[in-house]
Symmetry: C2
Subunit: 390 residues, 2 copies
């Protein structure tokens, strides 16, 4: 069914407080795992302690995401800037080998996200009609979105919606929900992602799968607006263009329920991630792309030949694997790789960063199609076809 199109525009990202190279982050994570293990095992001698430290350093460097795929990442928490465990807010690993339990993580999340909303809207005089807050890394009410609306006295004009706990693909349901709200008469629907993934690291878990997760995810915050096409064209927006939504589709793959899980656990939120996820995605990708393309009247083959691909970097190799599978050239996945390299996996905030990069890149010409793909628990595969506007 053909739908009135909507436009995503006015992207603004906010860099979390601390920016660090992946090399030094890996060193910090190795030290954290060693300290957690030392706290758990209470070794008697300096030699034993050194043995643990050496072993975990080796493990983290072996299984962690290396600096050739991720070069820098951002984080909100001061803890990551030193290894004085006594001074840590969450990762007081000399007392709590998994870091502190959930409450302190929630409080910190609430503070950071409250500030982020204030900054996102500092220069904004007019309230949006709807504010969709997207996260899977912090559940605190009133949320940053609700506190902003209360502070600015926008309560009579702005409805807040929480689109929480969907995972890395959540920008897709968010834009589908926004499209629906626009279809029901709202004019300005803002979407704000605030993901503090690094808050949920558990340095007492040394399995390879956990080392991949902990060295891959980062914090990220981004805001954008969804408007009907007539409104986005009126020249008021910071970016004249924007991305037009041509089609969106979401599926759950059969027999993959346990391949990825994400839940509130004792010490923050806990992820599990099977090594088979890339296989599952590859197995369903072709037919999924056919159906997604069909919804926009476009053949999947033509998309693979000519579109750019905004691929959520769910794992360090997923962009390469999907590009290989679909026969995409390096230019078609350049922005996806660049965001992974410069920011890591910021969960649901990642794809909007890729979209922003494509919008701002003068080499991406108006009219260019962008196929967006993201994945999450279910396993869910979510996709959208966007077109860069002039």
């Amino acid at each position: 069914m053909t739908q009135p199109s909507i436009v995503l525009h006015d992207f603004q990202s906010q860099r979390p407080k601390h920016h660090a190279g992946q090399g030094s982050i890996l060193e910090w994570i190795a030290a954290a795992h060693a300290q957690a293990e030392i706290t758990l095992r209470q070794p008697d001698t300096a030699e034993e302690r050194e043995g643990i430290t050496r072993k975990l350093h080796k493990l983290v460097l072996r299984f962690g995401c290396s600096t050739d795929r991720i070069s820098t990442r951002n984080a909100a928490l001061d803890d990551f800037t030193h290894t004085d465990w006594d001074r840590m807010r969450i990762f007081q690993l000399n007392r709590f080998p998994a870091g502190k339990p959930c409450g302190e993580r929630s409080r910190f999340y609430g503070e950071v996200v409250g500030d982020a909303f204030d900054r996102f809207y500092a220069g904004e005089a007019d309230p949006p009609d709807v504010l969709i807050h997207v996260t899977c890394t912090g559940y605190v009410s009133p949320s940053g979105a609700q506190r902003l609306v209360a502070k600015r006295d926008w309560g009579r004009f702005t409805e807040v919606v929480h689109a929480y706990h969907m995972g890395c693909y959540a920008s897709m349901p968010a834009i589908r929900l926004a499209a629906g709200l626009l279809a029901r008469g709202k004019a300005r629907v803002d979407i704000v992602h605030t993901e503090l993934c690094t808050l949920h690291m558990d340095p007492s878990q040394h399995l390879p799968e956990q080392l991949v997760v902990q060295t891959l995810f980062a914090d990220g915050m981004i805001r954008y607006r969804a408007s009907g096409p007539e409104r986005a064209a009126n020249g008021l927006e910071r970016e004249a263009g924007g991305l037009e939504l041509l089609a969106a589709r979401e599926e759950i793959m059969p027999d993959t329920e346990d391949a990825m899980t994400w839940m509130v656990s004792d010490f923050g939120m806990q992820m599990t991630l099977s090594r088979k996820v890339p296989d599952h995605i590859r197995a369903c990708l072709g037919p999924f792309l056919d159906r997604l393309g069909e919804a926009a009247g476009l053949g999947a083959e033509r998309l693979a030949e000519r579109a750019l691909f905004a691929i959520h970097p769910g794992g360090p190799r997923i962009i390469d694997e999907l590009a290989g599978h679909l026969g995409l050239g390096p230019e078609q996945v350049r922005a996806s790789n660049a965001i992974l390299r410069d920011y890591g996996n910021m969960s649901s905030a990642t794809l909007p960063h890729v979209w922003k990069a494509m919008l701002e890149d003068p080499e991406v010409e108006p009219g260019r199609l962008i196929v967006s793909l993201a994945f999450g628990p279910g396993l869910t595969i979510a996709g959208a076809i966007l077109r860069k506007r002039g």
Copy 2:
């Protein structure tokens, strides 16, 4: 702006496993608080233990919701059926005075909600187009909704949306989101609420506010469908009628951010609730109702005279207080009081239970207007005007 109307219909509720009288629940809660305090303080003598037990029994009966407002409540967890603390799954209070930390609560939630989705859809051959899962009491992915879709192999037909962590008023954003999805071409949007509020009780917290919360909230699960009016009329649904949505509105009241909070904490989720909440609601209710009525072309006075009121029982006295404030007669709030009496406060599942009761009540004639009101962190006040169909 006038919108194409949507219809809520085909309500089905599921009773959680254990049904108990409020009197015996208060006794259990008193025993739990006593055991938590005994575990924390480790008194030396039987006398001291008895003193603690007597004191907490008195406190719970004094501040807890009494049997004249709530007569029975339901809960999923076996723990509430005995006081053998060693056998408890969550409330092993002889070892954990606040109950176990979040992980075990999440696991239990996942099991119960998985079963609930299976039962809700056991007799259903056709997949809905969208399944909106609403909860503020358990964050587990894949969710019960996602697992159902995977198991039934509905992944290509059904999109899952999580509308999580909005609180007691969440049926309102859920129906607004459903309306939007229907406007974008979906035909069958199902909404399923699964709230296991009792999982988050913390018997080590004896403040009056906490005693109110712990003796008020209960578990509840309900499902219903949102359809465009032409589809709901085609006779396929279990209930020929349904409730037509005439208007919906949501506001955040100024300067009330700290009056109610709800966040993931160390031992489950933690609520705070100021005694001023009813005052805040009363202060904004009149103008809010004016604006809500306006959106449906109806004056607030006429609504107060003639409509039925589905009022979320956020506290034990809120129905009385709002009824008094608006000058409503007992018949206008009968269903709201009946649901509070028979089920307690089931968070977001409560209002849908009130709607179901009104739909099934032959004394509520077709054409009757229903004003729905609910409240949550923000403070958010959410309202809808519904009309019972013939």
